[in-house]
Symmetry: C2
Subunit: 530 residues, 2 copies
């Protein structure tokens, strides 16, 4: 390995893992020693934000290095336009094999490909359809019976292991049993306190870990970037034993919500409170049924991550591999009267982010915690720089974390942005909004969290005085000045989106005033003039 | 022809033709009877704006139906990204042949095509490279010796006609002669008072008109959309006889500028005043040398347009062809101490726009003048609707002019937008700006013209009190309230750009709440629950 670049990148993502459900982030009952060990080797970014608190758009930002507004794929299964460049477009020319094991939530731009005559199953078509990743194994992890791929690799694996049925993903890995032996469907969250009908080693997280180990082993000394993307701890909230029985109500943190929030809720927030998943968390038994399963799934990820790290060590890959551990967004789990994600409370929008850089340049920061406001889009430029490439700032809207990893004194950004397009959610229909009006934006500074809504008044939280985000100052006359200032910052942000993607700033500077050189004379009077 | 749709579309564009250099728009000395006749048959839109007062981005907006901010091609030769959909993508599926005769200023996205493995000379590659037009004959009209295409069709034509030299475009069509017979290069504007070294019928405007007539004749009764795109009256300001001698200093309008403008100029405006082309117009002889040539070139266009209309009539095409006459932007010609275009005074940003709709539905408005604020991007949806297609509002940011053509009572927009990205201009270097900071935006309401600048204070003009745009109220404390209001409108505009291009609003509404239907249950407790 050159000491200046990393040879490999292991980019591990969980789905719906809250920032605070790791022991290194302070969870008192959920011990995650293997993930903590990565934090001890690298930097844990304690104030990291996803670009949109929902799978699809968040991931499209992770993979393109661009804000949701810029890449345009605003919600799950809104296709990513065919010429959005992705991680693979940047790393492949640097000699890396760029592959996927797990989930991306990528929806291909069928119309865009057809318009260009691009065959979706051609080499280029596959890469564009898979968000730039070679699909070593793609599995987005949700396989309800009525839309399950009959040839799903994981189902083939389960059947080989002796599990029966057309869709053992559903009937075994994501179902449990009643005491009477009746199968209970994991789609129903009331079944989450049962154990999955599958052995630990046959469940999804170990399975995908195996696939990652297969890939890494196959690659030997050849450079790679692997996106290992776990579907868990995303619902169905069903863990196999021993994880299913590991946590009880004594391990559950108190729910974070109060009556004032509900009474004074912003209209959009109130509409999300009325969602089925939010209402479900009002059941007294909801959290004690669901949260232990959620914790068990995380504990399993930690164990599997430990197994993977051990394997990397055995293969000698710890010295030349940059390793990132993160999640696409969080999970309200009933906090703030909400389920799921979508909105901008920390439970939803803040993500775990640990970066281990094997190079000596990062020795000074090992085991430290960074308070810098970092964003999901920072990873693509970080990877490009680590792999020795030049960062194309005319497309990439994030910033390489390298100066932070090196402990250099650097002026960092003053705010983080996240966006929500809830046009596809019931709240949009409930509020009777046109799809373009069902959008909101978060701007979070050191102290403030400001949320601008189309149509409705903004929300505002003072994170110093009110770290729990219970008091919405969005209509408080005393805060008019700060709201105006934050709104102005957001306007600056909009104007400066990188949509001029086909030419670099350097090239623009190089060309400036260059018409003369091509013989195009503008504003000359006569040849005899000076 | 179905009475509900038009069979053909003739989309005529001039280059750098000011809105006010037509007799139907009030020019007292320049008679343009053939263009006026189109206005008498259709609607003349008196307050039409280009989306960016410079060729490349203006045209990319005309052809994509999208604002410059959205399509991203901010200046000449900044490539249009490979998956921006263009007019041809919308009209071709409706059965039209969509072709080009003349200029587009399209720069293809080579990197984008290479990334997708798209061969630029394949059928799809050509369309994408040519901005969606089949290049019946592409000619962008600027052919300096050092970068001239050796095989330029127009040069082959000239040589066939007996004109000599490697590049008769330059040596004949865009040069003149001294009294001593010496060739004088038309790139130098001081030579504009001479006649081109080419016969009228061999000059560029008649040549391209012939190509249009060839195409239309070839097509017979088959449906087509032809973009006839003249390079003139864009510089080189060299007209052939008889047009070269048609106008004299007695026909020149007084220059529109005053000392106060110069003394109080906004920094960006001042930097443009220092451009070579602007400085040139300070010469006392500049306008009387240049403007008569500019007028002659327009007069020639009018005559050729008349010839074309006669041919359409002869072919019976006047009954089934929608005809549009417009320009990509204007020309300061020394007004406001400026040459060229780029900024937002009416001389630069306002464009002629006449639309003739052959259908009986438009009978009520024939010969009328509309004061609606219309934009270049309105043409694509107008064409799509006229051709019987559904307007994809998730991509197209303009509005079909059909209700205005039909004389229907309709709530129209309250402001027009234009944008300028001067990152490639000397003013950017002069002001020592980063490329992203060399951008400004115009918002024009019925009364106000507001210009927001990155880095610098805004400009503001009261078009009621000051129709000549001589008094910049951008720093006037009395106008703080209106500036804030206009700025807020501009912020709304930014947020509502159509970047979610891969899914329609209708499809979003259709899908809302549809996860259940796929078997993805979110927030259900138990099957036994209601």
């Amino acid at each position: 390995m050159s000491r200046n670049t990393v040879r490999n990148i292991l980019f591990v993502m969980c789905d719906q893992l809250r920032w605070d459900y790791l022991s290194c982030a302070g969870h008192p009952h959920l011990q995650t020693p293997h993930i903590d060990a990565l934090a001890a080797r690298g930097v844990r970014f304690d104030r990291a934000y996803c670009q949109s608190p929902i799978c699809g758009p968040s991931r499209m930002s992770f993979y393109t290095g661009r804000f949701m507004f810029s890449h345009g794929a605003g919600w799950n299964n809104y296709p990513l336009r065919v010429d959005e460049w992705t991680l693979g477009d940047y790393l492949r020319p640097l000699g890396m094999r760029v592959a996927l094991a797990g989930k991306t939530h990528m929806k291909e731009d069928t119309d865009g490909m057809a318009r260009l005559g691009l065959d979706p199953v051609s080499e280029h078509g596959v890469l564009v359809s898979e968000c730039g990743f070679e699909p070593y194994e793609r599995d987005d992890g949700l396989h309800p019976d009525r839309s399950a791929d009959p040839d799903l690799a994981y189902n083939r694996f389960l059947r080989q292991k002796g599990y029966r049925g057309d869709n053992p993903w559903s009937s075994h890995a994501n179902s449990t049993e009643s005491d009477a032996g009746e199968t209970l469907d994991g789609w129903y969250w009331g079944h989450s306190n049962g154990a999955a009908r599958v052995r630990d080693e046959d469940s999804e997280t170990p399975y995908m870990t195996d696939r990652a180990i297969d890939f890494i082993t196959e690659m030997g000394d050849k450079p790679w970037c692997l996106h290992l993307s776990y579907i868990k701890p995303h619902w169905p909230y069903i863990a196999p034993e021993p994880y299913a029985s590991m946590y009880g109500s004594e391990h559950i943190l108190p729910v974070q919500r109060n009556a004032r929030e509900e009474a004074e809720a912003h209209p959009v927030y109130a509409a999300f409170m009325r969602h089925k998943d939010s209402m479900l968390f009002r059941r007294p038994e909801a959290r004690e049924t669901i949260v232990p399963a959620y914790m068990g799934l995380i504990k399993q990820i930690d164990d599997q991550f430990g197994r993977l790290m051990k394997e990397l060590e055995r293969l000698g890959r710890l010295d030349d591999t940059m390793i990132v551990f993160t999640s696409d967004h969080g999970d309200y789990l009933g906090d703030h009267w909400l389920g799921e994600k979508d909105l901008f409370h920390e439970a939803s929008v803040r993500i775990p982010l640990i970066v281990y850089d094997p190079r000596p340049s990062a020795d000074a920061t090992r085991g430290t915690v960074s308070e810098a406001l970092v964003e999901a889009i920072d990873l693509v430029p970080t990877f490009v720089e680590a792999a020795g490439g030049a960062v194309p700032v005319h497309r990439l809207e994030g910033r390489s974390l390298q100066p932070l990893l090196d402990g250099r004194d650097v002026v960092w950004r003053t705010y983080a942005i996240s966006e929500s397009d809830y046009s596809g959610r019931d709240a949009r229909a409930d509020l009777n909004l046109a799809p373009m009006d069902a959008r909101c934006w978060m701007l979070r500074t050191d102290r403030w969290k400001y949320v601008l809504h189309e149509t409705f008044r903004p929300q505002l939280y003072d994170l110093e005085a009110d770290p729990g985000e219970f008091v919405d100052l969005g209509a408080d006359p005393a805060c008019e000045g700060i709201r105006a200032k934050l709104k102005e910052m957001l306007f600056d942000w909009f104007r400066n989106r990188r949509l001029r993607v086909t030419i670099s700033d350097e090239e623009i500077v190089r060309r400036t005033g260059g018409a003369d050189r091509q013989g195009i004379l503008i504003g000359y009077w006569k040849p005899s003039d000076p």
